[in-house]
């Protein structure tokens, strides 16, 4: 892999998602903002945009559809990244600088830093193992070859990966265009699609998964009655601050991922052994994100009860938009589910539908169901396509 390929990989796997994530960043509540959520939002937005570009290209263009798709998506992704920088680039830099001053390494508890260091070490070991070990999986003969065929022959799911015979679109797999997204990264960076899938993508997708778990930890582990992240300086002996418990939780999660290989079916096995496949992204990115969005909605709802300025706040357009943000994220997660696996769409809908019913019932907030229905419109379109084709 040449130096330029590495630079291009950093550009497409880190810089472009980071800049694209700045679009939703502007509309996030202040206490939610941060680098990790920007990266997650960036990937979600880019996946959603790719779905919008790739599926029509695949269905409507006969020859070299992938190259056309790649060219259109390059423009779309760069425009999205540019828009992100324009919309909130300055604000992001200013706020992150301030965050570093207020909550940088020097301001943090040594013990907390030690736990974060431990967590980073465990993840580093996992990344090293992912990059240097061969994880045999028969499904790669399908998914990885689909990406390679797109990169080398410019086709989108019209050649049978196993043998190379021409075939009609296998719609069950074809709508899950994550293989084409990977081919796009391979095509733009000049890295062989198999090297990208087996050696490079784990270095992006594993940390991405942990970023989602970090967001979950932030919502799960808050000090009693305190939902906004602040540095806790008044540590009580009985109740340790959430800032300590979060890295402890993340270490346990990382250990769980490493030792969760109790069968070939668990999400942990998929994460560690084939995280470049759509089904792994479903289990380890999409579904945890659904859980996170649910936690976010729940937190907002229950916090709303005690918020003193609720009546005034609801008048502000920005606050109202902030309240819609989890549902906007949900719509993006649903589109990402579609790009990962056709089953992912159903699983995400099932988990969210069931949970939101419980929440709506507990809070008697039936409007939630309307917002949820709106967020599932992309999934509905996807399912109509799936059935119609």
């Amino acid at each position: 892999m040449s130096f330029f390929s590495i630079v291009k990989l950093i550009f497409w796997l880190f810089f472009v998602p980071l800049c694209t994530g700045l679009i939703p960043y502007r509309f996030l509540p202040l206490h939610k903002r941060g680098v990790s959520i920007v990266l997650i939002a960036g990937y979600l937005t880019l996946f959603a945009l790719f779905e919008i570009v790739a599926i029509p290209c695949m269905l409507m263009i006969v020859y070299h559809s992938f190259y056309t798709c790649a060219n259109i998506y390059t423009v779309v992704a760069l425009v999205a990244a540019g828009a992100g920088v324009l919309v909130s680039g300055k604000e992001f830099v200013r706020r992150e600088k301030k965050e570093l001053r207020v909550r940088g390494i020097r301001q943090r508890d040594r013990e907390e830093l030690f736990y974060w260091f431990l967590f980073v070490c465990i993840v580093a070991v996992q990344l090293y193992m992912a990059a240097t070990n061969l994880f045999f999986d028969g499904d790669d003969a399908y998914y990885v070859v689909e990406s390679l065929l797109a990169q080398q022959a410019g086709v989108m799911n019209t050649i049978l990966p196993y043998t190379g015979m021409s075939t009609t679109l296998d719609i069950r797999h074809a709508l899950s265009v994550i293989t084409m997204w990977e081919a796009f990264i391979a095509y733009r960076t000049g890295v062989h699609a198999t090297i990208l899938a087996h050696t490079v993508l784990p270095l992006a997708f594993l940390p991405l998964t942990y970023l989602v778990y970090f967001q979950i930890a932030k919502l799960l582990l808050t000090n009693r009655g305190q939902l906004v992240n602040t540095v806790n300086t008044n540590r009580s002996k009985k109740e340790p601050p959430h800032m300590i418990l979060r890295p402890v939780f993340m270490i346990l999660i990382a250990v769980f991922m490493m030792f969760g290989n109790v069968s070939i079916y668990t999400p942990e096995t998929f994460l560690m052994m084939r995280n470049w496949q759509g089904k792994s992204l479903t289990a380890n990115f999409v579904l945890p994100l659904v859980f996170w969005v649910l936690l976010w909605i729940g937190t907002d709802l229950w916090k709303g009860d005690t918020s003193p300025g609720k009546a005034e706040a609801t008048k502000s357009f920005k606050v109202r938009l902030e309240r819609y943000m989890p549902f906007i994220f949900l719509a993006l997660v649903n589109m990402t589910a579609g790009i990962c696996s056709s089953m992912g769409v159903v699983l995400a809908a099932g988990l969210f539908g069931l949970s939101i019913l419980f929440i709506a019932f507990a809070k008697k907030e039936w409007k939630l169901l309307v917002k949820t229905a709106a967020a599932f419109v992309p999934s509905l379109v996807y399912n109509i396509l799936y059935v119609a084709l």
Binding site: T163, L221, K238, P240, V248, F256, P267, L347, L354
Partner: protein
């Protein structure tokens, strides 16, 4: 109904492996059931997982799953809806909050002892190259790959190599691929029938089948017995790599 329930039970057992992490998860679920005060957390980490677990075992749910998604062998993915890792780790953190140092060490140790380290999996081995493919497959493909601008070539590979060939180079077409190797699919392919099924390969039958498929190359494992040498049928032995003989059919080359 009873058989569907048995299938569900079988799927659940297969999913949970040795069952120890399941016990840990159930303990976490029970702990949160009795101690978690936040309603939103109770809903998402106790009630919903419990409902999903119950739904999982209901036979009509399996029927519905198969009907909607047209597949029954992926039913285990319904269990993905339960965030077991989050629930287990959160319960450990909460249970040991006042002694979190001990909780961290003990929790990590319990997970490690009851779980199974992924790197011990039999399908994990040291990568020989950046492709994470067996090096001998790459070497074999490099021998038969067409030059830039030349037509693609078809080859018959032994079943243990078919997964990897086209992950390296899609200019190699295969006589048969992974679809023939998976026992549950049980497809028929004439080349596979004569190349992989007999204890001893009958060279004449093999050549008849490969020529009908316009296979320019045959790759044979040296360990596989064959009644006659392929060279006597107009094949040229190009090379032997890692115990695999690479033959080219000169009749198709001309």
């Amino acid at each position: 109904m009873v058989s569907l329930f048995r299938d569900n039970l079988h799927t659940f057992r297969a999913y949970m492996g040795n069952g120890f992490l399941l016990l840990l998860f159930l303990a976490a679920l029970i702990f949160l059931n009795f101690t978690e005060k936040s309603i939103r957390k109770r809903i998402l980490m106790v009630y919903v997982p419990e409902v999903i677990l119950v739904l999982f075992f209901l036979p009509p749910v399996r029927s519905l799953f198969s009907a909607i998604l047209d597949e029954g062998d992926t039913y285990y993915r319904l269990l993905w809806l339960i965030p077991m890792a989050v629930i287990t780790c959160y319960a450990i953190v909460r249970a040991s909050a006042s002694h979190y140092r001990v909780g961290l060490v003990a929790g990590a140790a319990i997970i490690a002892l009851t779980g199974s380290l992924v790197y011990r999996n039999q399908n994990v081995m040291k990568a020989q190259n950046a492709y994470h493919l067996p090096q001998h497959v790459i070497d074999i493909v490099d021998v038969i790959a067409p030059a830039e601008g030349e037509n693609r070539v078809r080859a018959a590979f032994p079943s243990e190599l078919v997964h990897f060939v086209r992950q390296y180079n899609t200019d190699i077409l295969l006589a048969f691929g992974r679809e023939m190797v998976e026992p549950q699919w049980d497809y028929y392919h004439p080349v596979y029938e004569v190349m992989e099924k007999p204890d001893e390969i009958v060279a004449h039958d093999l050549i008849e089948a490969t020529r009908a498929q316009e296979c320019r190359y045959i790759i044979l494992n040296e360990a596989r017995p064959i009644d006659r040498d392929l060279e006597s049928y107009g094949f040229e032995l190009l090379d032997t790599i890692a115990g695999y003989k690479i033959y080219e059919d000169l009749n198709l080359t001309r």
